[in-house]
């Protein structure tokens, strides 16, 4: 990655060490102080030009390389994402608005993201539209110069804390006008979450608080200025979102950090672990390396515009399985740590958090089955 990347990694680790509490497990806890940590940390990164460093200079970024951006993703995820939910704004909401937004939308939305002041949520999944996203039913109908939105979203991460929602809704029924397929007739709306016509209901879950919510839209009025991209043309924007999300979270980085820390956390107990378990640990290290290098290949192909859907899918399958497999190995390793070992308490908590969150990795942001469909389609088409 080069010397710049190494320096950046060092700088980020120093900032985490100085400004993030040593028992931090992410912004999504029942303790409001954790969210405040993330808010402060985002502003700190923004002040130093590190939050949106890969954005073009005209939008408040530094035009940094994709490799520097990769370092940021790795370091943040490895250290329990001290940017909180704002990673989404930086990783894909902002870039999508740059690509598809009007100048007015760019002026309105990009500066708050670049300053680390705003949280977005993604209003895609619905009770009847998960992997089959295009089957969604939330509808926006014309009302004078604007639109009225009614429907329900689900699994909406960070909806309780978000100021804005990146909402996908149906604006034309299949069979109406030029809408022949269900992927047509969908439109993106940029919706303020403080509108009383929106209700958020948290769903308690093993992933922890804030990760899963239901969001209800009851005749929400949105203006024409809140439409992103063409009316009925939202599906192509969704594809763009997916392509940004393909390498969005550097899951392998947290796996690698925890696996790396395990022998130190266990101390003398490490040598007492069953040889077979230490063998599984070594195997996970090789899988971490494999996922990391596959991620780099996706980043490289993406930046050169040569990426094929199968390239990203193979990586996503490898990294999401790594997330879960490494979590199982780590859970078995920490079972050897006595509960009263205060020095290892944080490591235990990190691993338990990692295990709970990893359960969703093969479901979130495009299930592993969808990735398999994409990959097999590419394999069969290429022959």
């Amino acid at each position: 990655m080069g010397q710049n990347a190494k320096q950046l990694r060092g700088e980020l680790r120093e900032l985490v060490n100085e400004h993030v509490p040593h028992d931090f497990l992410g912004a999504f806890t029942d303790n409001p102080a954790d969210l405040e940590v993330a808010q402060r940390f985002c502003r700190l990164l923004a002040d130093r030009g590190l939050l949106c460093m890969a954005w073009p200079e005209e939008f408040g970024g530094r035009g940094a390389s994709v490799w520097q951006q990769t370092v940021v993703r790795e370091e943040m995820w490895a250290h329990h994402e001290p940017r909180g939910a704002q990673y989404m704004g930086v990783n894909w909401v902002g870039p999508i608005i740059m690509r598809h937004g009007t100048p007015e939308q760019q002026r309105k939305h990009l500066p708050p993201i670049a300053r680390g002041e705003v949280i977005w949520c993604q209003g895609f999944s619905e009770p009847e539209a998960g992997s089959d996203l295009a089957s969604l039913r939330t509808a926006a109908r014309r009302d004078g110069d604007g639109w009225r939105v009614s429907g329900q979203k689900i699994w909406t991460s960070y909806a309780t804390m978000a100021q804005w929602c990146f909402l996908l809704a149906r604006t034309s029924k299949v069979g109406e006008g030029a809408t022949q397929k269900k992927q047509q007739g969908l439109t993106i709306f940029l919706v303020p979450m403080d509108d009383p016509a929106i209700q958020v209901r948290p769903i308690r879950a093993m992933l922890g608080p804030h990760h899963l919510n239901e969001v209800f839209f009851d005749d929400l009025l949105v203006t024409e200025a809140d439409v992103l991209g063409p009316v009925d043309g939202g599906w192509s924007i969704v594809q763009d979102v997916m392509s940004f999300e393909r390498v969005g979270i550097a899951r392998y980085a947290r796996c690698e950090r925890l696996l790396h820390a395990a022998p130190t956390a266990l101390g003398d107990a490490w040598d007492g672990l069953p040889a077979e378990l230490r063998g599984r640990w070594a195997r996970m290290l090789t899988h971490c390396r494999r996922a990391r290098l596959l991620a780099y290949r996706v980043v490289s192909l993406q930046s050169s515009g040569r990426i094929q859907p199968g390239d990203a899918a193979a990586y996503r399958i490898a990294v999401t399985k790594l997330d879960q497999d490494s979590a199982e190995v780590l859970m078995e390793i920490i079972a050897a740590i006595p509960r009263d070992d205060a020095a290892a308490r944080y490591f235990r908590a990190e691993v338990e958090d990692h295990w709970r969150y990893s359960q969703a990795s093969t479901v979130a942001s495009g299930s592993i089955e969808v990735q398999r469909m994409l990959l097999s389609r590419a394999m069969l088409a290429a022959s």
């Binding site: 990655m1 080069g2 990694r9 490799w67 790795e74 490895a78 980085a253 690698e256 950090r257 696996l259 790396h260 820390a261 022998p263 130190t264 490490w270 040598d271 040889a275 230490r278 063998g279 640990w281 070594a282 195997r283 290290l285 090789t286 899988h287 971490c288 390396r289 494999r290 996922a291 990391r292 290098l293 596959l294 780099y296 290949r297 490289s300 199968g310 899918a313 193979a314 399958i317 490898a318 089955e369 990735q371 398999r372 469909m373 990959l375 097999s376 389609r377 394999m379 069969l380 022959s383």
Partner: protein, 303 residues
């Protein structure tokens, strides 16, 4: 960031594929199995024609990449020749090739060849291969050794990495054959490739092959560094795991025809065995890597 072999190496690999095809392709292995002592005559001139023995693998980075590409192409055709072992020869011994062996049970796939071989254990003890004793399938033979020195530690990494490139070429071919088979073969009135159960098995194989591809490059470039042996062992661990998954999937999707000698998969599968078991199989490779690491992780983001 460099994530792929250079264009020249890749072109060399393609040239080798064409040359092996022109020399007989899949029939080379069938002929060599019938008469192992023809291996040199069947394959040697093709490799010489490609300039394989002029590659300065241990000193020149371009040669190193070319050697890797050549090994991959050899694997694709299950070339009946220990090309990786020949290319990995040490520079300070007057031998034709280097075989990494396990302590106590040295073996190599050298039946029918007259070359002068050196052997090296994972901890760097070098020997000369004096003669072959008991022979086994896939050109394997037990090796009778005569100790030379213990200066071979630096030789080991590359000698482990290049055979993994041969195995990678075998996985390339096995998947290619299987994709072609499931597109052609119909059951219940439709091609096997239309069944999701079949498609998902293919992806299991491809994730493994694709992961091995990227790890093989990493270990190749690291083979001359201080991390070389750790990285080579990590690669070998992944290569054996990948081979297990890929051949299991490919056999399953080929059905009974995949076991028949009229099917290339049958040959690839059985000739992959020495590459997967020698010098150490999956469990022993993992044990060796684990004990080498102790409480130290592989070099990575947090080293």
């Amino acid at each position: 960031m460099i994530l792929d072999l250079g264009d020249e190496a890749k072109e060399f690999g393609r040239e080798a594929l064409r040359a092996f095809d022109a020399a007989g392709g899949d029939e080379l292995l069938q002929q060599a199995e019938a008469k192992p002592d023809t291996r040199e005559a069947l394959v040697g001139p093709v490799l010489a024609g490609l300039g394989a023995w002029e590659l300065d693998v241990r000193a020149d980075p371009d040669s190193l990449e070319a050697a890797a590409a050549l090994c991959r192409s050899a694997g694709y055709w299950a070339l009946p020749y220990p090309v990786a072992e020949r290319l990995a020869r040490p520079t300070d011994l007057d031998v034709d090739g280097l075989i990494v062996v396990a302590d106590g049970a040295p073996e190599g796939t050298v039946v029918g060849l007259d070359n002068r071989w050196a052997a090296v254990t994972l901890d760097g003890s070098r020997s000369s291969v004096m003669r072959l004793s008991t022979t086994g399938p896939a050109f394997t033979a037990a090796l009778e050794l005569s100790a030379v020195d213990s200066n071979g530690a630096a030789d080991v990494a590359l000698a482990l990495v290049l055979p993994c490139w041969v195995l990678l070429g075998m996985l390339d071919r096995a998947i290619e054959l299987t994709v072609a088979h499931v597109r052609l073969r119909k059951q219940f009135g439709q091609p096997l490739s239309t069944f999701q159960g079949v498609q998902f098995q293919l992806t299991d194989a491809e994730v493994e092959r694709s992961g091995l591809d990227i790890l093989a490059k990493h270990a190749l470039w690291s083979s001359g560094t201080a991390d070389g042996l750790d990285d080579a062992l990590a690669l070998r661990l992944s290569a054996i795991e990948a081979a297990e998954v890929v051949f299991r999937v490919c056999h399953q999707l080929h059905g009974a025809v995949g076991f028949c000698d009229e099917t290339t998969l049958s040959w690839l599968s059985r000739y992959s065995q020495p590459l997967r078991r020698l010098p150490l199989g999956l469990s022993a490779t993992r044990d060796y890597l684990t004990s080498r690491l102790g409480g130290r992780a592989l070099t990575g983001l947090f080293s």
